[in-house]
Symmetry: C2
Subunit: 200 residues, 2 copies
DNA sequence: GTCTATATTTTGATAGAC
DNA sequence: GTCTATCAAAATATAGAC
């Protein structure tokens, strides 16, 4: 009988060369932005020449598209689950906080491109913008329903949406600085601050 | 006696060509980021040729430096006033909210560069980072003093700092979409949401 | 899968005429 | 203050050898 440590097998699984390129590119895009990163930069970070990259990817644009669209679809899927869940609005907001924390911890570098480089998308830019608008609308719906059911204070919902979403979208800037990070603990604390404020 | 409409005189005052370049560049930097904007783009937006820009500015870098450093110094000065004011921590936080709103309304485009393009600074990058760290430390001090004086809940101050500052730093994305905007009203509503949360 | 060599375009910036 | 002309460097991407 063969023994395999599946955890190790999974974590050590050799990344496809394409995925390796995307990971390296994500890191550089986070540091300098898509436009300031050259194919030579990416290649150098991998210890190869720029021309070699083109054996695995078709263009720089393809790298950006992959990073952004897969993240945007992850958020869409997450929001879709939350909408279906039978929870009140406050609980749904807590789920949204957790969704952002989990995705950001999993792909901190990619989140930088999602936030800052989407305007450099070409073919898929309209698709991205649709996903984004739909996500914001679902978020706004949850807030509006919460106001109607008197679970959320009756203030301008756009200000609440903007305030919470800005914080969640900025998580990628802050999470990597926290070495010892328990996602659940962060979700609890952050939800508390966002929902209940800091006033005593 | 000569009559002058000083309001008109001020608002119609012909901008120096240099300031005009900086304004046009700020707008383009906000749309695509510093690296993706070319000197030809800036020139085209002004209806002149790229070479002509160099009669008024020395380099593309100089434009970016001006945009970012003048804003960073504005924030430093604002924070310095707030520190001197004899108010409790909650009132100081409200003043910080107003500071961000006022500066952002006044220079929405520039705020994009301050947030997203500071890493492309050359000579003045260290100076910028010093101002930034000092600003964040002053902010954190106000929160910490508020916790000690039991004006602010006793939670992780970094989470509160991050949450509030992320929202304030994202104002530039949101303010231009609000046509009918009363800065004082926004300050009141936003302070309310940030300080007291949305939970009912 | 990686390399060298290279094509093509675009970039920031300068020189000098008007 | 703006123009045309131009330079030198840097960019994405391809072709073809190994």
């Amino acid at each position: 009988m063969k023994h395999v440590n599946y955890y190790l097998a999974a974590s050590m699984k050799k990344l496809s060369r394409k995925q390796e390129i995307i990971n390296v590119a994500s890191k550089l895009f986070k540091e300098k932005g898509y436009s300031a990163v050259t194919m030579r930069d990416i290649a150098k970070s991998m210890g190869i020449k720029a021309a070699s990259l083109y054996n695995h990817i078709n263009s720089k644009q393809e790298i950006l598209t992959y990073i952004i669209i897969s993240l945007a679809e992850e958020f869409t899927q997450g929001m879709s689950s939350i909408k279906l869940s039978n929870k009140n609005s406050i609980e749904k907001l807590k789920q949204i906080v957790s969704l952002h924390i989990n995705i950001t911890i999993n792909n901190t570098n990619g989140m930088a491109s999602l936030n800052n480089d989407w305007m450099h998308l070409k073919d898929q830019k309209d698709y991205y913008l649709t996903l984004r608008v739909n996500y914001e609308n679902s978020f706004r719906n949850i807030i509006n329903k919460g106001i109607k059911k008197k679970e959320i204070i009756n203030l301008n919902p756009d200000i609440m949406l903007f305030s919470i979403l800005s914080t969640l979208r900025s998580l990628y800037l802050w999470i990597p600085k926290k070495e010892d990070l328990d996602p659940n603990e962060l979700a609890t604390s952050l939800s508390n601050v966002l929902l209940n404020g800091i006033n005593r």
